[in-house]
């Protein structure tokens, strides 16, 4: 039974206003409203740098998928099928980058492998050269950072897929005479296909939206996200709109393509029986050592970040390692009002946007699933859209929408006010909290609420005493990821911030520009610690990290009914 309730319509309109309206306005402006013209698109087509940036976005993303798969899949097999000392701890450490803001990763990478990073300095001090041995810049540098931060998707998805795989498939293959490579090629990998496609999709989309890495270490190499921001900085607003549309189209094309690939073969692997026993490797020591070294390589950049945050300004010049360490950077961050302000800003803006996203996401899911609203498919699609589009697209769209005062058209001047960033974060958070609510509600047996109703509980009481307590882990997990995403956001903030509402990420950028690397590092460490703490305290409520990210990955899948 489908019902028409005002709540369903109301939420659909609200979400459409938040999610679709800005995008449509962006398209309209790219088409040169009020006089329709394809002039800007033609201009876009004529400029080779635009095509180069577009192509760069695509090939960087594809290469990132390949590289991440090459690192993540073997690593997942190692940790899921082999047994060696330290496996559990290492397995968790390796997945760590997934909860850290991309900006922190880039920063940490710069401090370690950049031209003035420790490794370059060490080489310099050995060769007595005054020139840095390399510059961490351009497409190779971007790919390095991407692979380093995004292999985790393949790692987590493959591990989760392997853990779900019924061991009987492997045993059946063995009983039919198939050796290890035949079993892997013919049975295991085909069965892992949905997980691998999911990881590829997530990696591709993340890479396509990636902004921190191309912006900070891309040098003159432009991808679409940075191209958009530079066009805006140059005052070329119409071109920025066209670029935004182009990026959105690429993102949607990628999404559709990969979803097709996923649907082409529906595989229903039985999820029964015992997980396969882990093989204790004959050369367990060697594997363990390799695992430990790998984890160290992964964690080293973050250790560097911590180290740099203790280097007093101006003391580290040519030495390989900093000659002096002190708390002066930390002292200045916490004692100066102007330096404390970004932290306060980030915290309150993230908290407010997450709270509203939870309420809105849950209300929409509740209306759709329990209210059986006729708007259910629309609500779910609307909630998924911001996931499918790069943050830059939304930032530009929101900037265009909320710089005009036209209340009758649902447009207000929010640019330059304290409201725009929380609003932007909210839109970006909706898929995360909405997905958690939808999945949680669908898994919840309706009989529980019916039982409460038969015992005389009112709608409110059922919600407060039954539904919300049972959904708490799912909602907490969604909220945690949303909060972390907002807290570390750089891509949306750089388009929409004002001096008074600048978040931590923007302050990190200005610290770097003002050669205050120590302060920037301190902010970076703070961001990492806040993110990690939020994840550990709220994000793991009864769920493991793979399923969290898996939920995130499948957000767009729910968009198409």
């Amino acid at each position: 039974m489908r019902r028409t309730r005002p709540a369903g319509l109301l939420f659909t309109l609200l979400l459409a206003w938040l999610v679709c309206y800005p995008l449509l306005l962006t398209l309209a402006e790219a088409l040169g409203d009020p006089n329709w013209t394809l002039r800007h698109f033609a201009e876009f087509g004529r400029r080779p740098d635009e095509w180069q940036a577009l192509w760069a976005s695509v090939w960087i993303s594809l290469a990132t998928v390949v590289l991440s798969a090459a690192i993540g899949i073997p690593l997942a097999f190692l940790f899921e099928t082999a047994d060696f000392p330290g496996r559990r701890v290492l397995g968790t450490l390796v997945a760590l980058p997934v909860v850290l803001p991309p900006l922190v990763g880039v920063l940490a990478f710069l401090f370690l492998y950049g031209e003035s990073g420790v490794v370059a300095r060490a080489v310099q001090s050995v060769t007595h050269s005054t020139e840095p041995p390399w510059r961490l810049s351009g497409p190779a540098a971007i790919l390095l950072v991407h692979a380093y931060t995004m292999f985790v998707y393949f790692y987590l998805f493959t591990r989760a897929g392997l853990a779900r795989l019924d061991s009987a498939f492997g045993e059946a293959a063995a009983s039919l005479g198939a050796g290890r490579s035949r079993t892997l090629r013919r049975v295991t990998l085909p069965l892992l296909r949905p997980a691998l496609v999911g990881a590829a999709l997530l990696t591709f989309m993340t890479s396509l939206s990636s902004f921190s890495a191309p912006y900070l270490i891309g040098g003159t190499f432009r991808v679409m996200t940075t191209q958009i921001v530079f066009s805006r900085l140059n005052g070329d607003t119409e071109m920025a709109m066209v670029e935004t549309v182009a990026l959105a189209v690429i993102a949607l094309a990628g999404l559709v393509f990969l979803q097709k690939a996923e649907k082409r073969r529906v595989v229903s692997g039985a999820i029964r029986g015992a997980a396969p026993a882990r093989r204790r490797l004959r050369r367990g020591g060697l594997v363990a050592a390799a695992g430990w070294i790998f984890a160290a390589v992964l964690l080293l950049p973050h250790a560097m970040l911590l180290l740099v945050s203790f280097v007093p300004p101006g003391t580290w010049t040519v030495e390989a390692l900093p000659p002096a360490l002190s708390f002066s950077n930390w002292g200045s961050v916490f004692s100066q009002t102007e330096r404390l302000r970004p932290i306060v800003n980030s915290l309150w803006m993230s908290a407010v946007s997450t709270a509203i996203a939870i309420v809105l996401g849950f209300a929409a899911a509740w209306t759709a699933v329990r209210g059986r609203s006729r708007f259910a498919p629309a609500l779910e699609s609307l909630l998924a859209i911001p996931w499918a589009l790069p943050g830059t697209v939304f930032a530009v769209a929101l900037a265009a929408t909320f710089s005009v005062r036209a209340p009758w058209a649902g447009r207000f001047v929010l640019i330059g006010t304290a409201a725009i960033l929380p609003l932007a974060y909210l839109v970006r958070n909706l898929p995360l909290t909405g997905r958690a609510s939808f999945a949680g509600l669908r898994q919840l047996d309706p009989a529980l609420e019916e039982a409460a109703a038969s015992l005389g509980a009112s709608r409110t009481r059922r919600l407060l005493r039954i539904t919300l307590p049972l959904l708490r882990p799912a909602l907490a997990a969604g909220a945690s990821i949303a909060f972390i995403t907002s807290l570390g956001d750089f891509v949306v903030s750089i388009v929409l911030y004002t001096f008074d509402t600048r978040p931590i990420s923007i302050e990190i950028l200005s610290s770097l520009r003002m050669q205050e690397t120590g302060v920037g590092a301190a902010y970076g460490v703070l961001l990492a610690v806040l993110s990690g703490a939020s994840f550990l305290f709220f994000g793991t409520g009864g769920e493991t990290s793979p399923s969290l990210t898996a939920g995130r990955a499948h957000a767009p899948a729910s968009g198409s009914p």
């Binding site: 019924d166 059946a172 009983s175 039919l176 198939a178 050796g179 035949r182 069965l191």
Partner: protein
């Protein structure tokens, strides 16, 4: 007939928990042996040891005299049907059945013929192109069997082959399964927790309890001459009545109940003269009588379960326990005071040492 598969004193522990303890079993060529036991008895572990998915801590596994204990499963040439079939969901029926042919050295040219022939053998001719997900449970089971048989393995292993089917289908599938196995003539070891299945499919039945083989034999032997108290109670219906053992020459031995009533009995295990024993009696070996009849144990009928011309009566025997008696459908009704006697011409009740635990 020659011994094809031989298990010698197989031991396996998971952690400190022993799962199989000294399991030895010989399966003759073309024989079907059922490994019967309750859940947790270690029967699946025995099967997995034979298949090579687990390595025994001690003991050996021989096939036609060849020691395969250390041979990896993919080189044992054993066919296995898994409990949930483990059909590869991304392959067609034909691809599933052909999967084991290449490793078995069957050429690409011969493979389709073998697939066709094997599928026909399980009444699935022409099913090559079907997706395994669109088959019924019974068809999936037959594809699993065909896949296991196609490479012509030396031994066939089946793990609860019918447990995944609904009861109405089980009877028919069981007969078909037996027919196929017998036609192929393959040496077969299969695991089940259902006595009926074991008795119908198995030429011989091996009863496993807490990791030990309690008895191996024909179904009749297990029912009529159970070697242990566990086999006596696990196979068929029975009541356990505590009594004192009064030995004597063959045929003169008896069990004495409180109150001095004695029933002739046979020793099922080693029981001490004058010591406590558990007397295990089948319902058909008991009869109802008047409570005053000499040699009868007096009690009250507490339950009657109608089963056609006959009925099962549960009788609460004063100071002893409950006994189940098979009698005509109108012999008594709940609440009646009755006497319980050994039935005439029935096999003697068997006495076993009481279980330490219970």
């Amino acid at each position: 007939m020659t011994v094809e598969l031989e298990l010698q004193s197989l031991e396996k522990s998971f952690g400190t928990q022993p799962v199989t303890r000294g399991v030895s079993l010989s399966v003759r060529q073309s024989e079907i042996v059922a490994l019967l036991g309750p859940s947790g008895s270690g029967k699946t572990t025995v099967l997995r040891l034979v298949a090579g998915f687990e390595t025994p801590d001690a003991g050996r596994i021989l096939v036609a005299g060849e020691d395969v204990t250390a041979t990896p499963p993919e080189r044992r040439r054993f066919g296995m049907v898994f409990q949930h079939y483990a059909l590869f969901p991304h392959m067609s029926v034909g691809e599933n059945v052909a999967f084991g042919l290449e490793p078995a050295g069957i050429s690409k040219a011969d493979a389709p013929g073998r697939v066709r022939e094997t599928l026909a053998g399980v009444d699935l001719a022409g099913f090559e192109g079907r997706r395994v997900t669109e088959l019924s449970g019974g068809q999936q089971q037959r594809v699993a069997l065909a896949r296991a048989l196609a490479p012509r393995p030396r031994v066939l292993l089946l793990d609860e082959p019918l447990s995944n089917l609904d009861p109405t289908l089980r009877d028919r599938t069981r007969r078909e399964l037996k027919r196929v196995i017998q036609r192929v003539g393959i040496t077969t070891l299969f695991v089940t927790h259902e006595q009926e299945e074991a008795f119908e499919l198995g030429d011989r039945v091996a009863v496993l309890h807490q990791g030990r083989l309690e008895q191996v034999g024909l179904p009749e032997e297990l029912y009529e001459k159970p070697a242990t108290r566990f086999v006596a109670t696990f196979i068929g219906r029975s009541s356990v009545l505590p009594a004192r053992w009064r030995g004597g020459a063959d045929g003169a031995a008896s069990a004495e109940f409180p109150g001095g009533i004695r029933w002739p009995a046979a020793a099922g295990g080693t029981v001490a003269e004058g010591g406590l024993a558990d007397l295990v009696v089948r319902p058909e070996a008991l009869a109802l009588a008047s409570p005053a009849e000499s040699g009868a144990l007096a009690g009250e009928v507490v339950e009657r379960r109608y089963a056609g011309r006959v009925a099962f009566y549960t009788v609460q025997l004063a100071g002893i326990g409950e006994a189940e008696v098979l009698a005509s459908a109108d012999a008594a009704k709940p609440g009646d005071r009755v006497g319980v006697l050994p039935a005439r011409d029935a096999p003697l009740p068997r006495a076993y040492p009481p279980e330490a635990a219970s």
